[in-house]
C-alpha cells in the first residue's frame, strides 16, 4: 500500500477508557461476599511482584533458536519466572526480528540506542532476555558455544535435524562438557523418524501434520474449508510442552538424577497431545473427526453464532442451563421457546447432539440473536446466569475492563523501546509470580556483558571476534 492510501489513525494512549477502581468493582457488595476476592487481590496483584522472589532464580538458559517462534516462546516461560535467558543469535540478528505484518516497516519498534527496527512478533517473545550474537558456522563460534554451555543449565536449539551434532555441539558432545546440561531441540515434526523435519520448516507445517487444520473451519457441506490458526499456534503450544519437558528434566536433575538429559519438543506433538478425542475415536471405530465450524461435536449448546453486531458464544451443555437459555429467548419470543421445549426429540441431553438437532437448536437461537447486539444478548443471558460472551476484536480485548483491572495487559515502560503494551505473564501467584521486567534487547546488545562475565573476554577478544565475524 502506498503512503497515500495509508489511513491516518489517531492512536489514543492505552487505556483509552480508565481502568475501573476497586471501589467501582466491588460497589454494593457486602463485606462478607467480597472478603475472599479482596484476599486474593492482596496476595496476587501484580503490583506486588517486585517484593517477591522468582521461582527459577539461578537457572541459566541459552536460547539458540532462530526463524521460528517455538524456541523463543519456550524460553519466555523460563524468563518470566526469573531464569537468566540469553538469546544466542547469528550476527545481524535472528531473521525473525525483521518480520512485520505485510512487510510494513512503519509498524516496527526501534530502540533508542541503536535505532534497529524489530517486528512485534519477535519483540513479544524477547521479554526479560539478553541478546548476544555468535556465528555458529565458524569453528571459533562453535568453540565459544561449547564454553558457554559449561555455564548453562538449559540449551534450546532448532537448527536442522543433526546439524549441531555434525558441528560437534550437539547433545552428545555438550553433555560431555557439561553433564548437568538439559539440551532441548524444538521443531515442527521432529528431528528423527520417518517424517522428520526438513531444514527450517515453519509453522503451520505442524498444524497441517497433526490434523489440526483439517478439523478447523466450517464443514464442506456448509461451504467451509480447512483453516489454520491465525497465529503460529503449534509453535506456542509445542513450546509450552517443550518447557514442561525441560522443567521436568531440571527437577529430576536436582532432586535425584544428578545429570541433564536430551529433550525434544515439537509443534505437532504438543498439539497431538491436546487434540481432544481424535485418536481415541479413530482407534475405536475408524472415525475421522470432521470439521464443525464454530459448533461443537460433543456439546449442545456450546457454540459461537452470529448476532446483530458480530458473533457471540453461548454455552450450556446440561439441562439446567438449556432451559435457562430458552427461558431467556422466550421472554421475547415465546413461540421459539415453546418450539424447543415441546420438541420430544430434544428432551434428553444426549439426544441434542446429532447434527440435525444442532442445526435446529442454533437456527432457533440465532433467530432470537440476529436482532440483538453481543452486549444485549450477553446481558439478557446473564440475567439467567448463562455463560456467554461476544467474539472480541483486539481493540475490544485491550479495553476489556476485567483484563485491564487484572493486569492481563500491561504497558512495559522499557528503557530502550519506550512504552510497549503486551499480554503479561500468566503466572499469577502468591509467592513467585511471573513478571516482565524489560521487553527486549537489540541484536547483540549484551555481547560485552555476557562474554566478559561468563567467558572472561577482554576488550581485545571482543574486538578480534567481531572483526572475524564470529560475534
Amino acid at each position: 500500500m502506498s503512503e497515500k492510501k495509508k489511513p491516518k489513525i489517531k492512536v489514543l494512549d492505552w487505556p483509552a477508557v480508565p481502568t475501573p477502581t476497586p471501589d467501582e468493582v466491588y460497589a454494593g457488595v457486602s463485606d462478607e461476599a467480597k472478603a475472599y476476592n479482596l484476599w486474593l487481590e492482596s496476595v496476587l496483584r501484580q503490583e506486588f511482584n517486585a517484593n517477591k522472589p522468582e521461582a527459577l532464580q539461578g537457572i541459566r538458559v541459552l536460547d539458540v533458536t532462530q526463524k521460528a517462534i517455538i524456541g523463543h516462546w519456550c524460553s519466555s516461560l523460563f524468563a518470566e519466572l526469573g531464569a537468566e535467558v540469553i538469546m544466542v543469535e547469528p550476527p545481524g540478528g535472528d531473521p525473525l526480528r525483521k518480520l512485520t505484518p505485510f512487510g510494513r516497516e512503519e509498524y516496527m519498534f526501534a530502540d533508542k540506542e541503536t535505532g534497529e527496527k524489530v517486528g512485534a512478533r519477535f519483540l513479544a517473545e524477547c521479554r526479560n532476555k539478553l541478546s548476544i550474537t555468535l556465528n555458529l558456522e565458524t569453528e571459533e563460534g562453535r568453540e565459544i558455544l561449547r564454553k558457554l554451555a559449561k555455564h548453562a543449565d538449559v540449551l534450546i536449539e532448532n537448527y536442522p535435524p543433526g546439524q549441531f551434532d555434525e558441528w560437534g555441539i550437539g547433545y552428545r558432545q555438550l553433555s560431555e562438557i557439561n553433564p548437568r546440561l538439559v539440551y532441548c531441540w524444538v521443531g515442527q515434526k521432529g528431528q528423527w523418524g520417518p517424517d522428520k523435519d526438513k531444514p527450517w520448516a515453519l509453522d503451520p507445517v505442524a498444524q497441517n501434520a497433526c490434523g489440526f487444520t483439517h478439523g478447523t473451519g466450517a464443514p464442506k457441506q456448509m461451504g467451509g474449508r480447512p483453516v489454520r490458526s491465525g497465529w503460529w499456534m503449534c509453535d506456542q503450544v509445542g513450546g509450552t510442552f517443550a518447557a514442561i519437558g525441560i522443567m521436568a528434566a531440571l527437577y529430576a536433575r536436582d532432586s535425584f538424577y544428578g545429570k541433564g538429559q536430551f529433550v525434544e519438543g515439537t509443534g505437532a506433538e504438543g498439539v497431538i497431545r491436546i487434540l481432544d478425542y481424535n485418536w481415541a475415536w479413530y482407534g475405536m471405530d475408524g472415525s475421522i473427526r470432521p470439521r464443525y465450524g464454530n459448533w461443537d461435536l460433543a456439546i449442545n449448546i456450546y457454540a459461537v453464532n452470529p448476532c446483530a453486531d458480530g458473533q457471540i458464544m453461548v454455552g450450556g451443555g446440561h439441562d439446567r442451563l438449556w432451559y435457562r437459555i430458552w427461558r431467556t429467548v422466550g421472554k421475547e419470543k415465546p413461540e421459539l421457546e415453546d418450539h424447543i421445549v415441546e420438541d420430544p426429540k430434544l428432551r434428553v441431553v444426549t439426544d441434542r447432539l446429532p447434527h440435525h438437532m444442532q442445526v435446529k437448536t442454533y437456527t432457533c437461537l440465532v433467530e432470537w440473536m440476529r436482532e440483538h447486539t453481543r452486549y444485549e444478548c450477553e446481558t439478557a443471558l446473564q440475567e439467567e446466569e448463562v455463560a456467554s460472551g461476544g467474539v472480541a476484536f483486539i481493540d475490544e480485548v485491550c479495553e476489556f475492563p476485567h483484563y485491564k483491572y487484572r493486569g492481563h495487559l500491561e504497558v512495559i515502560d522499557d528503557t530502550l523501546y519506550g512504552k510497549v503494551l503486551i499480554g503479561s505473564s500468566v503466572f499469577i501467584g502468591y509467592r513467585t509470580p511471573g513478571r516482565v521486567k524489560w521487553i527486549g534487547r537489540p541484536t547483540g546488545y549484551d555481547n560485552e556483558d555476557v562474554y566478559r562475565r561468563l567467558l572472561g573476554f577482554t576488550r581485545y577478544d571482543l574486538e578480534k571476534y567481531k572483526k572475524l565475524g564470529v560475534i
Binding site: P53, H214, G293, Q311
Partner: protein
C-alpha cells in the same frame, strides 16, 4: 557420566531413535516418583494440568462427585463412542470420549463435599500431597474449609493451583467460562478464519485449546514451583490461572501493535501475515477418489512454503508463472495483501488438477517445503508418530485396546508415560481411602451407604 561408546558412534538419527525409544519408557525412572497430587477439577483445563503431572509419575488422585462423576464424562462427539462402565454402580452407562486425554494415570475417588466427612478426607489427603489442582468457583473451597488458607496450615509445602475462566477477582470474577468463551472473548476468534473476501467469519480453534494449553501452562508453573520449593525455599505456594489471560498471552504481538499503532489485527485465512509464500492452498483432487468416507472424498489442501527469494523463484518456475517472479522480486513485494491474492490464486490454479500428495511431491523436487493437510486417520496411521511414541496403542486395564496421545514432548532419561487412560467413577475409593485416609473396609462401606463417596 559420559555417553557410552556405541551411542557415540551411531548416526545421529539412530542415536535419537535409541535414547528416545518409546518402548523403553518403563525402563527409565519417573520424574515425579513419590510425589502426590490432588485434582478436584472438571472439564478440561484443571484435569489436563493434573494429567500432565501424572504422566511424569506423580500419584494423582482425581476427586469427582459420587455417582455420575464429572460432567466431561457425559460428552462425546455426536453422541457415538463411549467406554463402559461409567462405574461399578452404572455399568450400562459409559464415559464419553470428551473425557479422554485429560485424565491419564490418575486414581479416581468420589467425594460429596457437602458432607463433613468429605472435608475431613480432603484434609487428610492434602496433608500428604505435594500439589493440588482445583477449579471450583473462586472462594468455594475456602468457604468449605479446604481452600489454600486452611490446607496450607495442614501442609505448608502444598502447591495449590487454582484454575478458572476469568480469575477470582476483578469485575468479571463471577462469570463462568468455557474453552470457546475464552477463545471468543480473549481475541483468538478475531484473527482466525477465512478472509472476509472469501466470506469467512471469525473461527474457533477446533480443539479446546484454551483449556488444554492452559492446563499445560499451569503444569509448568507447578513444576517450576516444586523446583523452587525443593531447591530454594521449602515453601508451598498459591497460584491462579485465568483462562482468558492465556489468550492475551498468545496474542501478545498483535496487542503490542494495537498499543502503539492502533492496529486491529484481522483474520488472514490460510495465508501468513509475516511470510509469503507460506500458505495453505487447495489442491483440486481428492486423494481417495474411491472412498465412501466423506472426510476422504474432500479435495486436498497443502501448505507451500517458499518465502526466500530463491525458493520463490523456484516456485514460479514450478507453476510456470515467470511473470510473477518478475513482478514480485523481493519478499516485501510479495507480502503485500494484493500480491498475496494474486500469487495464491495462481498456485491454486496450478494445483487444481492435483492431489495434495502430488503437490507435495512436486514441491519436493523443486526443493520447497510442503506439508499436506492431514486428517485424523492419516495422522493416526502415520508411522512417524507411533515410532516416536506420540500416539500409542495402550493396553488399558479397564477399557482394553485404546489409542491415545502420550506426553507431548520427548525426554531421553525420564520420559512421560501413559499406564492407563482413565478409570470408572470411584474405581479407587477403597484403595485410596485405606492407603491415605486410614479407613477400614466397614468404614468405607458406611461412607458409601451414607453417600459421602
Amino acid at each position: 557420566m559420559t555417553i557410552p561408546k556405541e551411542l557415540k558412534e551411531m548416526t545421529f538419527e539412530d542415536f535419537c531413535r535409541t535414547v528416545f525409544n518409546p518402548k523403553k519408557r518403563h525402563e527409565k525412572p519417573e520424574v515425579l516418583k513419590g510425589k502426590r497430587g490432588i485434582s478436584t477439577t472438571q472439564y478440561i483445563l484443571g484435569p489436563s494440568c493434573a494429567a500432565y503431572l501424572a504422566e511424569l509419575g506423580a500419584e494423582t488422585i482425581k476427586v469427582e462427585l459420587p455417582r455420575r462423576g464429572e460432567p466431561m464424562r457425559h460428552t462425546t462427539p455426536f453422541n457415538e463412542p463411549f467406554l463402559y462402565p461409567l462405574s461399578r454402580w452404572m455399568p450400562d452407562k459409559g464415559t464419553g470420549l470428551g473425557f479422554f486425554g485429560a485424565n491419564h494415570n490418575e486414581y479416581f475417588i468420589t467425594l460429596d463435599f457437602h458432607k463433613p466427612e468429605a472435608i475431613e478426607i480432603m484434609k487428610r489427603l492434602a496433608a500428604k500431597s505435594d500439589f493440588m489442582a482445583e477449579n471450583y468457583r473462586a472462594g468455594t473451597f475456602d468457604r468449605w474449609g479446604i481452600g489454600y488458607r486452611q490446607l496450607s496450615e495442614v501442609n505448608p509445602r502444598l502447591i495449590y493451583q487454582w484454575m478458572g475462566g476469568f480469575g477470582g477477582w476483578g469485575p468479571g470474577r463471577n462469570r463462568a467460562s468455557y474453552d470457546i468463551l475464552g477463545q471468543a472473548q480473549g481475541g483468538c476468534f478475531s484473527v482466525t478464519g477465512l478472509q472476509r473476501e472469501f466470506g469467512g467469519l471469525p473461527s474457533k480453534h477446533t480443539i479446546w485449546i484454551m483449556d488444554y494449553w492452559g492446563g499445560a501452562m499451569s503444569a509448568f508453573q507447578i513444576l517450576a514451583n516444586m523446583w523452587w520449593r525443593d531447591n530454594i525455599s521449602g515453601l508451598g505456594n498459591f497460584m491462579e490461572y485465568s483462562q482468558v489471560h492465556g489468550a492475551q498471552r498468545h496474542l501478545s504481538d498483535i496487542i503490542a501493535l494495537y498499543g502503539r499503532y492502533g492496529l486491529v489485527a484481522q483474520r488472514w485465512g490460510n495465508w501468513d501475515v509475516l511470510l509469503c509464500v507460506h500458505g495453505i492452498v487447495q489442491c483440486g483432487k481428492s486423494s481417495y477418489p474411491g472412498s465412501k468416507n466423506p472426510q476422504e472424498q474432500e479435495e486436498g489442501y497443502c501448505l507451500i512454503s517458499a518465502y526466500e527469494d530463491e525458493d520463490y523463484a523456484a516456485l514460479c518456475n514450478m507453476i510456470e508463472r515467470h511473470d510473477l517472479a518478475e513482478k514480485y522480486p523481493e519478499h516485501k513485494d510479495r507480502l503485500d495483501p494484493e500480491a498475496q491474492f494474486e500469487i495464491y490464486a495462481a498456485i491454486e490454479e496450478w494445483a487444481a488438477d492435483k492431489t495434495k500428495e502430488e503437490v507435495a511431491a512436486i514441491c519436493d523436487q523443486y526443493g520447497l517445503i510442503a506439508q499436506p493437510v492431514m486428517n485424523s486417520k492419516e495422522v493416526s496411521t502415520n508411522p512417524h508418530w507411533q515410532e516416536r511414541g506420540t500416539l500409542q496403542w495402550i493396553d488399558d486395564p479397564t477399557f482394553g485396546d485404546v489409542f491415545a496421545q502420550v506426553g507431548g514432548y520427548l525426554m531421553s532419561d525420564t520420559p512421560p508415560r501413559c499406564n492407563w487412560v482413565f478409570k470408572p467413577v470411584g474405581a479407587d475409593n477403597d484403595y485410596i481411602l485405606a492407603k491415605l485416609c486410614g479407613f477400614t473396609g466397614s468404614e468405607i462401606a458406611k461412607l458409601e451407604a451414607e453417600e459421602v463417596i
